[in-house]
Amino acid sequence: MFLFAFHPEANVANSKEAMLCCVKEKIGEAVLPGDLLAFEIQKSENKREKLICGPGLRRDGEDVFVCKSGILRHKEPNLYWIDLQQRRYVPAKGESVIGIVTAKSGDVFKVDVGGSEQASLSYLAFEGATKRNRPNVQVGDLVYAQFIIANKDMEPELVCIDSCGRANGMGVFGAGGLLFKVSLGLVRKLLSPQSEIVKDLEKIFPFEMVIGLNGRIWVKAKTTQQTLIVANILESCENMTTEQRRSIFGRVSENVL
C-alpha cells in the first residue's frame, strides 16, 4: 500500500476513453488489468487530497490503473483496493503465517511459507531465547510467525515475538492436528472481524484452529474423524453461498451428535 496526493487541478482526461471509467461507478464491479480509474476532484477546494491505493492498483504518473482482475472495493474515506481470488501467496510485512521448518543452518532456521523463496527465522526471535537457551525447534515443525522484512528485493524474515518481546500466540505448535491449504480469499474471510463462517463452525463441535494468511489452516479436534470433518468442510466452503453452507453445517452437526 502506498500514499500519494492528488493535485486538485490535475487533468485526468486522456485519449484512452474506452478504458477510463469513473471510479464511483465501478465500486463493487469487476475491473480488468489496464483499466484507468478517474477520481472526481473537487476544484473548489485548494487543499491536497490523499488517496490510498491498496492491492491490485498501481500509480503511473498521475493516473491510477488496475493491474489485477477482481472487484473494486472502497472504504471511507479514501481507501480503494481490488478484491481478488488468488491461490499463490506473496509475503508482505506484518502478516502472520504458518510456516514449516525445512532446515537448520547455523543460527537461522529456513522456513517454507509457500512463497517464491524460503523465509529465514533467527533462533533468537523466540520468547525467552538466548544464546545459551536455544528454542526447541526441529525440522518439520510448524511455526506461527510474523514477517518483519518482506519485499521483492530481499529474502523474507520471520519472527515469533512481537515488538515487546512477548510470544503473543506465536511460536512452534502443532502436535497432532492436520495442516491443509485453501485459497487466500477464504482465509481473509475467516479472519475478518465478524466472520459468519467461524460463528457457524463454533456451533458444530469444539476444536482448535490456527489460520495463516498464506492460505494454510491447521485444525485439531478431539478425535481424528472430527478433525477430518472440519478440514473437509473448510476446504469445500470456498464456493458456497450462505444458505448452502448453513445447510451443510446443519447436516454435519446432526450426524455428529
Binding site: 488489468p33 489496464g34 489485477k68 482482475s69 488468488q86 517464491s116
Partner: protein, 223 residues
C-alpha cells in the same frame, strides 16, 4: 452476425467463430483457463511467482517460461517458435519487475487444433494469467486471419481454410490501445493487405475484450 463489406479492392468477412472459456478448472496450478474458438481448444495453467533455479534467475524481473504441448507427438520446432511468440507477448504485458528472482511457468496443452491455434493459445494464456492474479499492465488477445487465393480476408480460419489460403497471419493486440504487440505471418501478401488485415483484427479484438470483461464479472459476481 455476418458482415461482408467492400472497401477499396478488398472484400472481407469479419466474423469470429463462436468462442468460450472456463476459469480455474485445474486444482493444482495457481491459475488455469481453457479457451475454445470453434473447434480449437487450448488448456492453460500458470504457476507463479515460484522458486527459480539460480542459473535461470534474473535479478530484476521474473523469469517467464512457456511450454506448449501438441495433441499428439513430441513438441517440435513449430511448438518452440509458438512458445517464443507467446513468451514475448506475455512478458510485455506482465509487470515482471514486481517479482524479481522468481519464475512464472505457463503450460499450454492443445486439446484440439482446428486452425487459429496460436491465437487461441494467446487467449488462453491471458485468461490463465488473469486467473492466477499476476499483475499485468494491460490484457492481450490473439486474432488470426487468412488471405485466400482470391484476395478475400477470412477471420479466424479453420484448418482447412488455412491450408487453402496463400497467407495466414496471427496478431496479438493489447487492450488499452488495440496496438499490435506481436505478429506471426506465413505466406505471401502485399503491404496494403497486411494493413487491411491488421485493421480487421483490431475490430475483431474488441469483441474478445468485451468477452473477457463479461466472463470476469460473471465469475466474481457469482462468488
Amino acid at each position: 452476425m455476418m458482415q461482408v463489406t467492400q472497401s477499396g479492392s478488398f472484400q472481407h468477412a469479419a466474423v469470429l467463430r463462436e468462442f468460450g472459456c472456463e476459469h480455474s478448472l485445474l486444482s493444482r496450478p495457481d491459475g488455469s483457463a481453457s479457451f475454445v474458438q470453434g473447434d480449437t481448444t487450448v488448456l492453460a495453467g500458470v504457476y507463479g511467482p515460484a522458486e527459480v533455479m539460480v542459473s535461470k534467475e534474473s535479478f530484476d524481473r521474473a523469469t517467464l517460461e512457456v511450454t506448449l504441448k501438441p495433441k499428439v507427438g513430441m513438441p517440435g520446432v513449430a511448438e518452440r517458435s509458438k512458445e517464443q511468440c507467446i513468451r514475448q507477448t506475455c512478458e510485455a504485458a506482465l509487470l515482471t519487475r514486481l517479482h524479481p528472482r522468481t519464475s512464472i511457468t505457463l503450460s499450454l496443452q492443445t486439446v484440439h487444433d482446428d486452425g487459429a491455434l496460436l491465437a487461441c493459445c494467446l487467449n488462453a494464456a491471458c485468461m490463465a494469467l488473469m486467473d492466477a492474479g499476476l499483475p499485468m499492465h494491460c490484457l492481450f488477445c490473439g486474432v488470426c486471419c487468412a488471405i485466400d487465393q482470391q484476395g478475400t480476408i477470412k477471420l479466424d480460419p479453420t484448418a482447412r481454410e488455412e491450408k487453402e489460403s496463400r497467407a495466414v497471419m496471427t496478431f496479438a493486440l493489447d487492450s488499452t490501445d488495440c496496438r499490435v504487440m506481436m505478429s506471426s505471418t506465413k505466406g505471401s501478401y502485399t503491404a496494403a493487405e497486411l494493413q487491411q488485415c491488421i485493421a480487421v483484427c483490431q475490430r475483431a479484438s474488441e469483441s474478445i475484450f468485451q468477452f473477457y470483461r463479461d466472463s470476469v464479472s460473471r465469475r466474481y459476481c457469482k462468488a
